[in-house]
Symmetry: C2
Subunit: 189 residues, 2 copies
């Protein structure tokens, strides 16, 4: 079963080494990990003329469409939310009707992280300095579109319960639990 | 032509008033604006038992699927990128194969905003304090998945050239240009 590995892992100093680690864990769990860094088996000739970032994006879309499921690294990236490229890809796979899974090494809720990011204390109310509301849907891990898509698709969102901040990009327990859960589910035809 | 209005506009202090303003501009341009706040014509009975944020998310997915195009407010929201809920919805509509459009009141590039967010000066190189790379694809407005999806779908991404920071949430010039461009394109059958 081919699984697309969405995540900000591509921004690591050695992204190919990181992809190899994630793929090895997929293999361990009986899955075939597909990285955004992989070459396409058959890339359309017309893409040769595309500007590099656009070709990368088209390739990622094609990789997603070639996979049976998506597993997203939702560990917060440069702000209270997951990486936006990752979230785009999650929405893409969700619309294809296939299962989307997520893992994160942050155990705090989206609301808690957003309030901390905006320096809002308990007395600040729900409106930030730009006059925008901070929603409070309790324990959601991220924006409601993300949590809902994973649940509605039949996936799971695994949060590491106590990962230290300095291990956010080196800890794989939540990722492996995600893979094991995915592997244990009945496969679609 | 029904157009889904994705954006962090739902977090405004009076989101229904904001939706009415955006919809009135759609009407002015011969389009039917669909807001995430709209009721569904026929909401599945099974959703009545869903926790509120999950029902909102399912409703948004259904609204997107009912529209011929999506127009996203990509003005940066709580960080260097667009709102992640908006980006999820953009990815969702992109996977449905329909045109996605974007508008933003920030004229700076994603790279410039990300470096400012991370307090990186010109001498800082491309690696942030977490050891993660800051990509530099020049003038892209946001993560490459976003810019590419809009271009590949046949949409346009309109950036306001000089909107003051304190008018990021009240200026509609880029939005209207987006709508006018969408309206001028040949309609799909």
């Amino acid at each position: 079963m081919r699984v697309y590995l969405a995540g900000p892992d591509v921004f690591m100093p050695d992204p190919h080494e990181r992809a190899a680690v994630l793929k090895a864990l997929c293999t361990k769990h009986g899955l075939v990990g597909v990285s955004p860094l992989d070459a396409l088996a058959h890339e359309p000739e017309a893409w040769a003329g595309l500007h590099e970032p656009y070709r990368i994006a088209r390739r990622n879309e094609a990789h997603i469409a070639s996979c049976a499921a998506l597993v997203a690294n939702l560990t917060p990236f440069r702000g209270p939310s997951a990486d936006v490229g990752t979230v785009f890809e999650l929405g893409y796979m969700r619309a294809l009707g296939r299962p989307v899974y997520g893992w994160t090494n942050s155990h705090t809720s989206f609301t808690t992280r957003t309030r901390a990011f905006l320096n809002m204390d308990d007395d600040s109310g729900d409106i930030d300095d730009n006059g925008m509301q901070v929603e409070n849907f309790g324990p959601l891990a991220d924006n409601l579109m993300i949590d809902s898509a994973i649940a509605a698709s039949g996936g799971v969102l695994i949060r590491h319960p106590n990962c230290p901040d300095d291990e956010h990009w080196t800890e794989f327990g939540a990722f492996e639990l995600c893979l094991a859960t995915l592997r244990s589910r009945p496969q679609r035809p």
